[in-house]
């Protein structure tokens, strides 16, 4: 092989390898982008570290809707106590979700939150949430789980409705292998 040809081959192979790496690099890029912008509606899954204290803005109301989903084939009941609330930005709100495990054995569940519109998720702070850790339910157990949240007064004016949705996943299998923790705020 001539030198020139070898160079072409090496360069092209390098591009191919680099692009394989780039495919994987897209994962952190996506996570970072989504964390900064909240594009995909993912909100913090760990409690906001510093206390979120705001001056409530009584002149403005935002409607917050609550949605509960189960990932397929989970034999649970899962629903919000109230479906809709009018809140003032800056107010600390407490609401509850109820879940019932209908199965005859214990199940470890993990709730994954999502906020719509995605761009509002940065302004939606969960102070306390059952989604911060996984939830073990004994056979046939029923439980109420609180969510405490604050809507940031910096929420853009045009957002009038925020939807908070949770999907419960059955993580019994993975949870028994490795303790389920979110070390970093999961974005992506």
């Amino acid at each position: 092989m001539t030198d020139k040809k070898a160079t072409t081959v090496l360069r092209s192979s390098f591009i191919a390898l680099a692009m394989f790496g780039f495919g994987y690099l897209m994962v952190p890029i996506y996570d970072v982008l989504c964390n900064i912008t909240g594009l995909n509606g993912n909100t913090e899954i760990v409690s906001t570290q510093q206390e979120v204290e705001f001056e409530p803005d009584m002149t403005r109301t935002v409607k917050v809707q609550f949605v509960a989903n189960l990932n397929n084939s989970m034999n649970w009941t899962f629903e919000p106590e109230i479906f809709e609330l009018e809140v003032h930005p800056g107010q600390r709100i407490v609401t509850n979700y109820t879940a019932i495990n209908h199965r005859p054995d214990a199940v470890v569940g993990q709730a994954i939150p999502s906020v719509m519109p995605g761009l509002a998720s940065r302004h939606f702070h969960k102070v306390e949430c059952f989604c911060f850790t996984n939830q073990t339910f004994a056979a046939k157990e029923e439980r109420q789980m609180p969510v405490v949240f604050v809507v940031d007064p910096a929420l853009p004016e045009k957002v009038e409705v925020i939807t908070l949705s949770y999907t419960f996943f059955d993580v019994t299998e993975t949870a028994s292998v490795t303790p389920f923790t979110f070390e970093v705020p999961a974005g992506g």
Binding site: K5, V9, S12, G23, Y24, T37, L39, P117, F169
Partner: protein, 523 residues
Amino acid sequence: MSTATVDDHHDEHPGFFKRWITTTNHKDIGTLYLLFSLLMFFVGGAMAMVIRAELYIPGLQWVEPGFFNSMTTMHALIMIFGAVMPAFTGLANWLIPMMVGGCDMALPRLNNWSFWILPFAFTMLLSTLFMPGGAPAGGWTMYPPLVLQTGNAFPFVIFSIHLMGISSIMGSINVVATILNMRAPGMTLLKMPLFVWTWLITAYLLIATMPVLAGAVTMLLTDKYFATSFFSAAGGGDPVMFQHIFWFFGHPEVYILILPAFGIVSHIIPTFARKPLFGYSSMVYATASIAFLSFIVWAHHMFTVGMPLVGELFFMFSTMLIAVPTGVKVFNWIATMWRGSMTFETPMLFAVGFVIMFTLGGFSGLMLAIAPADFQYHDTYFVVAHFHYVLVPGAVFAIMAAGYFWLPKWTGHMYNETLGKWHFWLSTIFVNLTFFPMHFVGLAGMPRRIPDYSLQFTEFNTMASIGSFGFGLSQLLFAFIVFQTIRGGKKATDQVWEGAEGLEWTLPSPPPAHTFDVPPVIK
């Protein structure tokens, strides 16, 4: 031409094994690729017949819904990776060395490997049809979490995609190395024939995107078997991210499926219009800009996933921007025909058919690019109509045009012109009967990838099914014509076509095994 003298003192009569299995000759490898592609075209076509038989009338008649979904998935994978891409690589093998005046591909041994990986990859893919849990049925786009429900077939699908990817990357590196290093003296980049140019750009697209697909499917594999959660929301991942990675590969991939076709048509139209190609350099720049833009439009496949407004707008406008260089190309082909002394031999018929029907597919693409409208069209038969217009009377017609155009050069025999014309007209009538009604049922809301549908869609579906059976049968005629031409026929001249220009037409028909051992000099 002196450089083209028959040079068969080495391996004049190699045995079957040496000629086909261990061959490093670009012409033989080209033939292998083309025959493999023809075989896969019929395998994938048979699956399409199953799909259309089931959709002939509403209700479930022939197959289980799960198997139906396997058919749509496998049909797409086989047609894309088994029929269209190997056909282009086969053409590249046969034509690029002859067009640039090189003696062979730059890396002949690698070339042998690139081809021989394919039969293994597709045997593996097809074997999934017989596995417990069935062949993959989640669509060729393999979206999680659905695709993770595939049974035992799953790792086989992933590995066969890895193999196809490796094969195309090796093939592309070979094409790049050939084009950049094997050109005859005097053949500057801007003197290269357009087929060579379009393939050079396609090869770069392949090198840049196939590894991304490989990465995406590897992530699927580890998500399923090694407890990673790239795409599993429960573990902190996001299934939508798969769609971003997949379409980052997927949109450039659709241009991989069409750019070499642009090159082919740019050879055929000037030949039969007996005029040089209009706007050669604008063709080169248009191809390059299409390739560049194809990397920044991927999310037009994902308008409905809930992107923010800026995202929708960006991907909508960047997608529409692609129509500009594409329009330049269509304009140039028409301008080439303008006032030409045209004749309509079979290759020209297919090429003109390509220009008209590909453009139709481009128009429906533009409709889909309108983000607010796509919420209605997405995942309906309208999308199916769109991509079949660009792929069947687009890419596949161009490949057939190339077959008729260069077959006399390769075999030394003229094909049967009457049968060729029959093949063109039957294909054209039936392809439109098949895919045109899909626009209507799509706009009316018939979803894609379903084995049953509501009554109001019956007539158009029946029409489409009849069209598809006709189209399928007409392709048997193509296979017949090809084999008839290989076995005999009127002797072809060296130039074959009166208006043909380019180095390959200076060689004898058929060319000897080794050509341009001494490079020709280009003025």
